[in-house]
Amino acid sequence: MFYREAGDFKTSYTADSQTFPIKFDRYRYYVVLAVAFGIIPFIINDYWANALLLPFLIYAIAAIGLNILVGYCGQVSLGTGGFMAVGAYACYKLMTAFPDVSMFIHVLLAGGITAIVGVLFGLPSLRIKGFYLAVATLAAQFFLVWLFNRVPWFYNYSASGQINAPERDVFGIIITGPNAPAWATYLFCLIFVTFCAIIARNLTRGTTGRTWMAIRDMDIAAEIIGVNPLKAKLTAFAVSSFFVGIAGALFFAVYLGAVEVGEVFGIQKSFLVLFMVIIGGLGSIFGSFAGAAFLVLLPVVLKVVGVDVLGWPTDIVAHLNLVIVGALIIMFLILEPHGLAQLWRVAKEKLRLWPFPH
């Protein structure tokens, strides 16, 4: 009743293959964009930006990246944290070496550098699959963190071994550093999220996406009907790492401002992003957003409910968070392997017919 596709006829293949073929979905998307770009920047404050919106946007990019690799191409990766670190350190080196260049270019270049590193660590995927590949990417995770810890050139020989984001601006508006206004950092991240989501969607609905999914569903058959497995897997690693690198650069430069690599981009980060992808939905762009929103929101909601309302000790609430996330992962893997995105699809199917289910 509320959600209808009746009377929404397509007269061309172009119209049929658009991102939101159903009118209602399309308008909802425009409304979300309008609110995100037109309203939220005017009402945002530091708390909302730092506690919710920035981590949500940045994790959404990382989740889209990982989803392309795991959900679309079926190559399991536990190296997300390491690749985010590559993005962060690349961005840091670029920011300090070329202070006058726009941050947009730095972040994109950081993504590009991560893509190259991702392809390098993706090479084993041509020989190994599944758990063994996961272990190979795990090696990438530990190696990269070790590298950024041990080679002083990466942190410009600073005494603390940390990297700190210097103050940089875009068109005169400060984006990084402690003086950056909340709305500017938010908009900066939002632009990248929109850019990444559109690219991811374009790639996954077209030829590249079909070759990825063919490799995921049955790699031998894919090769026999003409998919070049080398190209398919390495483009997946490249695109995935590009997004993850952008996320890492933003996480460091815009969100945190200062990073100690082992703490921020450790193995926990890899798992966190992987959980987002699993809970959100493998093989779904929307799922990446849903998973990121869920895992960013959960600790905040728990803290508000547990600590502020019920008065529980902080550490119990923090542990409760871990318990709930763990339980949810197991639940999703058993009950709904396609995650929140699938729940959303089912809800839409139901809404199409509501209130007359037959």
């Binding site: 293949y13 077209g206 497995p229």
Partner: protein, 272 residues
Amino acid sequence: MLDNSEGYVTEDGRKIGGVVMEMKNITLRFGGVVAIKDISFDIREGEIRAIIGPNGAGKSSMLNVISGFYVPQEGEVWFHGSKRPLMRPFEVAQQGIARTFQNIALFEGMSVLDNVMTGRLGYMKTNIFQQALWKGKAETEETENREAVEKIIDFLEIQHIRKTPVSRLPYGLKKRVELARALAAEPKLLLLDEPMAGMNVEEKEDMSRFVLDVNDEFGTTIALIEHDMGVVMDLSDRVVVMDYGKKIGDGTPDEVRNNQEVIDAYLGVSHD
């Protein structure tokens, strides 16, 4: 009659052209097991060529050699008049050889339309940056190929399921989608590995009709493996019979039917 390089005319009046693919003295071993032993045969343009034989005769291995999945230890594969160098299966596919599989090998997580579109990979020329941009070349290419795919979807009468995920389809329809995916490549040579396995009579009749229609309408050369003798004898122009990796017969269905060695292989022979 068959060594005439100009081709021949079938009983129902179809003209068969020159040799498209020639297998020369193929031998394929897995360790000590000889799966195919010194087999030679050819496939001519526009014909329906059947490969038959009892279980374990090496028919599927033969198809896998043709599609480049197995590399024979000895022998040469000639395609369109030139010897095929060592190449990966996807390169063979790009040369214009498409196939279906004995156990359906569709991409379960994708819709029927996406599965069939995957068959047209060889016609996708845009690079990843153009595709990321979508507007422009990539969109035009997608639309053009979609039109070609829709023709095949029409042809095989699967319009009603084009947006359905393959995992939800029944067996018979999956077989048809797989044929659609192979056809989408507009192959020069179409390999069908037991296209009618596990089907009931009605589905077999449908499938046979599609195979004949494909051959008739697109002029596609077809090589197929099948166990149902009635189907094979009715469909094919020439038949290769294999047993224990050796070729024991080659010729028109009538010739093969009356070949004593073939009868022995199928009915068994007393060892005295």
